[in-house]
């Protein structure tokens, strides 16, 4: 047997072939299609009507409202209403206001290693953390998938990103990603498949792996894969999902790679990315004098349960510096409930944080809540493009949730390791 990559194995299976070769264009059958309220019903339904067809398989479609939640504008409320009606009419699985799609989809057991999945959102590579080949598409393309159950794909080469050693306390998956954006560039992924591997990746929890896979989008990759292992299987078991037979879903030794990069996790420091690109990342110490107005803990890459727990460890018994507004938008209702049951939400409330809905919030910038003119924000989100989260004159720094929390307390961009207590939290 020829040595093949994980991406090739999944795409070969989905396209009904023995083997596929990078660069060839094949048609694959999708195992699952995820859509949200922005690119979903309001955009795909008119196309389905125009084509005069129904869904290829309603049991393989999951709809999640997150971009316009909580519907705080007239147009946003109207879009949510349309979304809810469509879910009823089309009889698809629907999660309404339960959290950000990339977090809700796996948390409700919809993803399984080896699946071939499309998502109507650019951060869909998140599914790669579970060993699924998942990638983002626009609404017209999604309508085509919903109509036919198929999509064309140019078989990607694999860029292997290996992380040796183990992360130090206070350093997270977000820091790994920000430094990758700086080192490889915003198109370093070249719309190929990125695969993360190595000791540091094996040691990461599923929620941290999701952050890595998610931000493969920031490298311009199509997918961000991590081969499934016991951690994946245990996590899926715990949420009532199905890991299936995941053994063998890995890149074979000797498979042809497009590139192989090696990074050392042990020496990585917390990072901060200056406005207006994740590729502007540098060790946080280089930004130490930057004063901030807003600290935002949110998004699919910065406000999952584990992020909230780590942030609370820093914020406990502390308050944001005078004049700093702290906002927390837990990534899903389940994660927020778990955090509440462990006293984590109470820490945020004691610190005077504004708790926002379980949704994309300011990260997507679609609602009425946006950063004002000239505001400097440090954010646990994935993108800091000019004008994305608010006024074109606002300035967004990206960092890990821990760094955002430390910065909120300091009133300037700060190294979280200076705010951590003795227990390593």
């Amino acid at each position: 047997m020829m040595a093949t990559t994980l991406a090739e194995k999944i795409i070969a299976r989905a396209s009904g072939r023995q083997a596929v070769t990078p660069g060839e264009i094949v048609t694959a059958k999708v195992d699952l299609a995820m859509i949200h309220d922005s690119g979903g019903p309001r955009r795909v339904e008119p196309i389905l009507r125009d084509l005069d067809v129904g869904l290829f398989d309603a049991t393989k479609v999951v709809l999640i409202s997150d971009h316009f939640v909580p519907g705080d504008t007239d147009e946003g409320a109207r879009i949510l209403e349309l979304t809810r009606n469509w879910a009823r009419e089309r009889k698809v699985a629907f999660y309404d206001g339960e959290g950000i799609c990339h977090v809700v989809l796996p948390e409700r057991g919809h993803l399984k290693p080896g699946m071939f999945v499309v998502g109507g959102d650019s951060h869909s590579p998140t599914g790669g953390a579970f060993g699924a080949y998942m990638f983002g598409v626009g609404a017209t393309e999604m309508a085509g998938v919903l109509a036919t159950g198929e999509i064309w794909i140019k078989v990607p080469g694999t860029i292997l990103i290996e992380w040796t050693g183990l992360l130090s306390p206070g350093v997270t998956a977000k820091d790994m990603m920000l430094t990758l954006c700086a080192r490889l560039g915003m198109d370093g992924g070249g719309y190929q498949a990125v695969e993360y591997a190595g000791e540091a990746i094996r040691a990461l929890s599923m929620q941290e792996r999701m952050t890595l896979s998610n931000m493969a989008a920031e490298l311009g990759a199509q997918a961000g894969l991590i081969a499934p292992d016991e951690t994946t299987a245990d996590w899926l078991d715990a949420v009532g999902g199905d890991a299936g037979d995941w053994h063998g879903l890995a890149t074979d030794a000797g498979a042809t790679l497009l590139a192989h990069h090696v990074f050392d996790a042990a020496t990585l420091e917390p990072q901060a990315a200056a406005p207006h690109s994740p590729a502007n990342a540098a060790p946080v110490g280089e930004a130490a004098d930057v004063g901030i107005d807003v600290a935002y803990i949110g998004a699919c890459t910065g406000a999952k349960y584990e992020d909230l727990k780590a942030v609370a460890a820093i914020l406990k018994g502390r308050e944001p510096a005078s004049g700093v507004e702290l906002m927390v938008a837990p990534a899903s209702r389940r994660d927020q409930e778990r955090a509440a049951s462990e006293g984590i939400m109470a820490v945020f409330e004691a610190a005077g944080a504004h708790i926002l809905p379980n949704a994309c919030g300011i990260c997507a910038g679609y609602g009425s809540n946006r950063l004002g003119e000239g505001v400097t924000c440090i954010s646990s989100t994935a993108r800091n493009f000019k004008g994305r989260m608010g006024a074109a004159s606002s300035r967004v720094w990206l960092a890990s949730p821990l760094t955002v929390a430390a910065s909120a307390v300091a009133g300037r961009i700060a190294d979280p390791r200076e705010f951590m207590r003795g227990d390593g939290q």
Binding site: D52, G138, Y191, F385, R388
Partner: protein
């Protein structure tokens, strides 16, 4: 009417092309704000037939296809860039907006008179008398673009399939 080139840099993102705060409304309203944070004069000065010329990774970021749709609505004949972000590239073809690649676009200056030949994959700088060869599209995308995008392409396919079943 002479078509002109609008020359942009690398990494033009979809938040600049289609700002999120206008995403709840219709495409006509959104199209009035295309590129406003980077090039405030764009919407006022762009004319049907004009060509956007960009560096690397044009259209990076969000999957919102309104970025391609709004450019098309403004009459842009096509985008020529050194490279495109993957999702934007697919969205553009799906919506019938030509997107073509060439490695060296240094001969083109902002405001140059241009003539884009999509089927022949050439960009002609008419005043400078320079012809730039563009990479030809793969056959499947050529066919989709010729049909006007994914929806007309699928209509054609479905019609053919129905005929077969008769």
């Amino acid at each position: 009417m002479t078509a002109r080139a609008f020359v942009l840099g690398d990494d033009v993102d979809t938040d600049q092309i289609a700002p999120g705060q206008y995403m709840a409304g219709g495409i006509e309203a959104l199209a009035r704000h295309v590129l406003e944070s980077q090039r405030p004069d764009f919407v006022q000065t762009v004319k049907p037939g004009d060509v956007v010329v960009a560096g690397r990774n044009f259209g990076m970021g969000s999957s919102r296809e309104q970025a391609a749709e709004a450019l098309k609505l403004l009459g842009i004949a096509g985008v020529v860039a050194r490279s495109f972000a993957g999702i934007f590239y697919r969205n553009a073809i799906n919506l019938g907006l030509p997107v073509l690649i060439a490695d060296d676009l240094s001969a083109i200056a902002d405001g140059d008179a241009v003539n884009l030949d999509v089927t022949g994959a050439r960009l002609r700088l008419t005043d400078k008398n320079i012809d730039i060869a563009l990479e030809p599209l793969p056959d499947n995308l050529k066919a989709m673009l010729a049909d006007g995008g994914l929806v007309p392409h699928l209509k054609k396919r479905f019609a053919a399939e129905r005929k077969e079943h008769l």
